[in-house]
Amino acid sequence: MGVLPYAVTTYIGAVILLAVVLAALGWRMHPLNRDDIVPLVVLCVMGVLSESVRGSDVGPRTHLSFTSIVSLSSVALIGPFGAAVVGAVPHLLGFNKDRAQVRVFNCAMNSAHSAIAGFVYLRIGGLQVVGPDSGPQELLLRVGLPLMVADVALCLSNALILSGIVRLTQGTPIRRFVLGMLGTSGLAYIGYGLIGFLFVILWVPAGVGPFSAVLILAPLFAARWAFVQYGDEQRAHERTLRALVAAVETKDLYTRGHSERVALLCDLMAGSLSLSHQDTEALRFAGMLHDIGKLAIPTRVLRKAHGLSGAELASMATHPARGVEMVRDIEFLKGSIQAILYHHERMDGRGYPTGLSGEQIPLFARIIAVADAFDSLATSSSHRDAHTVEEAVAELRRRAGTQLDPAIVAALERALVRHVWQPTRLEPELMATAGRAFDHDDPAASDLMASPAHLESSTSGEATSELASAEASSEPATPDPALPEPNGANPFWAKETAP
């Protein structure tokens, strides 16, 4: 990372200037006196402490910024100038291993928004020196209320200044960034304001002084500790689930990594469908576990390349239900169960296990169906090479409306614009050891299994011949002109036969 772009440097310069001007104004409005020195030092120490624990991971979607609590407490205890100093000091000391530019920017930004909160507090009549004899009502109205307003100002100015730099460096629109930030940490700021208020009360009216810091921080650090543990365990949990699912997949060599890729695709599509965090989580788990039921299908059937009898196809079709059986008892997967059960349903109602159609199919199941088909096409198999992303998408588009939901296919296309996807090419050695196998996720297999005639004619052998023909015709090495071409509605098979 060398020189920053001109615009970014200018922006950082402007923020520094703003911070200096605000601090100077703060000094004019309310200069520090001798009594302010102890609170200033204690608050700076608290700020440094908070800053030193910031950034260590506390789990997704959990923001715990004690820095804001420190800023707000300084606003009421020592005024805008003091708040500006307390906002700047932790970053100057540089506990985090941020780059110098980042540190300078954070320093200026925190100083500036703390000072702004300080001005707002004074402007709307917040008491600067909180007397030890004030009654509860006065404390609530003249300290608590102004502090909450200052809190809002702090939150907003923080979001605005930050959005500028994010716009310049990452191109995120300001509006979206500000709204996003208010959405994720807006509620937390109310808590910060409240805790800052408690700290001020404890310090002056209750007369506890610097020791207040210990009393207030103890429950907060305990909370932080628990959040960190939570984050660790959550990551451990997800990794465990992923690794063990991958291990189970070894039974079926061709699908190695398939679940993980489907989970990733689901994650990407959740982004373009703007699903909530919780939904995304449930969808990802469903993607990871959608084929877990295959473990209950005899290896003999899974490793069979062609010539699956109707009965064998029918047994294959039980895997969604078997999967649900396996994971039903896991509480956190409650949101994923439906998706696992119905991920082989088709829009035209010819899917399995129940033949739901259109909107009847749960959204998550429709998403997984698309991810599943896409990954199958973009992975090499025993009878053909992997499709390129464009070919795979084109094929999905052809199937939109019959097998797949057009809206979801469109969502996948949008996701693939933003993220590069590499088709999965299995190594020849692996393919040699694995032999040939029937890929139930291949859209062609969906067509095959969709035809009730095939499932019923378990003894007549028709299904067998058609699948075999599909396999054979798609494999350039062993062309067999004696077998009929697969039906014309499915031109991609024909196209793929060309070497």
């Binding site: 009216p205 020791f211 949990h237 063990l244």
Partner: protein, 430 residues
């Protein structure tokens, strides 16, 4: 596996103590309220009572299925340590009133939980009440200088000294509670007291720190703020409680997932149904017998649940899934594959180490001085026992299995572990 049949002696003693304490303090309070001056304390008493009942309703389960009610405890501690504010409401009550009101609040808080069918563990409540009684005694009852209590003396102290004293009093009260909890647990699980005490502290430390600070916080803030202080100053603790709740929820989830994954080999037809969970349950009670700590027990449980996961790498299942009947080389390969699979997670290294060594015969330790984790030795014995009993879980099957294990004593199996197996089995009979 806990025994429901027999209540350990210590629980009976504590229960009687708490009952006597409650009744005695109720009588004392009744006598005190003959004086009209006591009625001035009602606003404060009422406010704390409400806070305690609410806190009791919203309790928390800590990792390791420990039930506690942080908000209620903090409110009770603050109640025990509140001093006269001069803002109308009087705090001129004595220690017995604190104990009596806390006991009644606990009883009230129980009602919704009982109605909702949640498990109620009386020892937890009893120990908590005794802890609060200790706080009330230290702050309001015990004469520390010329027959004067902390409450009498504090008027001349600087507020921060008072704050410090409050934190210390809370810490002592919570230490008493945690120690009693450890004693109860040790008696229940037949584990050594010292080890249980250490486990108990490890689980409770974070929350206890927050609690002793919050108790002091509320008591101190009551002076300038009046009754509003009670809900307001419990807010930071609410955050702690929320975090702790999330933490124990994810622990539970993790366990559930491992349990489910342990069944995957069963559903795939590799192992017999219920084998993994039986081995896990038996391993756990043997771990207790052998005095393992809670951390070690968690690894042991996971390893026991996943001990057959290596079988998924087999093309064809072993008949009946019984690894004890497989050739030693195959056993080792399965163990190795299982360890590799678990190692892939990147977070279960301890479990992988246990799995790796689960088939190593005990003589390797004696003859070559190899280091063999105790957990591996336990799983080896449990696995053999469960495979050998097979479908015959009655007395006969059990004795036959033990006999066969005894044949491999010292050579294949660790005698100490086999003894623990025999003891654990005998205990389930009681």
């Amino acid at each position: 596996m806990t025994n429901r049949a027999k209540t350990p002696k210590i629980e009976v003693v504590l229960g009687v103590l708490a009952t006597v304490l409650t009744l005695a303090t109720l009588v004392a309070v009744g006598a005190q309220f003959r004086e009209p001056a006591m009625f001035a304390t009602l606003p404060i008493v009422g406010a704390f009572f409400v806070a305690m009942v609410m806190g009791e309703i919203f309790r928390v389960t800590l990792p390791g299925s420990r039930h506690t009610a942080p908000m209620a405890t903090a409110a009770a501690l603050a109640f025990a340590m509140t001093v006269n504010s001069g803002h109308g409401a009087s705090a001129g009550y004595e220690g017995p009133l604190v104990v009596a009101v806390t006991a009644v609040a606990m009883a009230f808080g129980l009602i919704p939980n009982v109605i909702r069918g949640r498990p109620v563990r009386l020892p937890d409540l009893v120990n908590r009440l005794i802890g609060i009684a200790v706080a009330a005694l230290l702050f309001r009852g015990l004469p520390i200088s010329n027959g004067r209590t902390v409450l009498d003396l504090q008027a001349s102290w600087r507020p921060y000294i008072l704050a410090l004293v409050m934190v210390v009093v809370s810490a002592i009260a919570l230490t008493v509670e945690v120690s009693l909890m450890a004693a109860v647990r040790a008696a229940r699980s037949h584990a050594p007291l010292l080890r249980t005490f250490r486990d108990e502290w490890r689980a409770a430390f974070g929350l206890s720190t927050a609690l002793s600070a919050t108790g002091a916080l509320v008591a101190l803030a009551e002076r300038p703020m009046g009754l509003v202080a009670i809900p307001l100053f419990l807010v930071p603790l609410f955050l702690t409680q929320f975090a702790v709740r999330r933490q124990s929820a994810i622990r539970r989830t993790y366990r559930q997932t491992i349990r489910t994954l342990s069944r995957l080999t069963e559903l795939g037809g590799y192992t017999e149904v219920g084998h993994a969970s039986r081995v896990a349950a038996l391993s756990m009670s043997m771990g207790h017998e052998l005095g393992m700590s809670e951390r070690e027990m968690l690894d042991l449980e996971y390893a026991a649940l996943l001990h057959d996961i290596g079988q998924v790498s087999l093309t064809e299942p072993i008949p009946g899934g019984a690894t004890v009947l497989a050739a030693p080389a195959d056993q080792r390969r399965i163990a190795h594959d299982g360890a590799e699979i678990v190692r892939q997670t990147g977070v279960l290294e301890n479990v992988a180490v246990i799995l790796e060594a689960q088939t190593t015969p005990y003589r390797q330790v004696r003859e070559f001085g190899e280091i063999l984790p105790l957990s591996s030795r336990i799983i080896k014995v449990c696995n053999a026992y469960d495979d050998l009993t097979g479908n015959n879980s009655g007395r006969g099957g059990r004795d036959a299995a033990i006999e066969r294990i005894h044949l491999g004593l010292g050579y294949e199996y660790d005698p100490r572990v086999v003894d623990a197996l025999v003891r654990a089995l005998a205990r389930t009979d009681q």
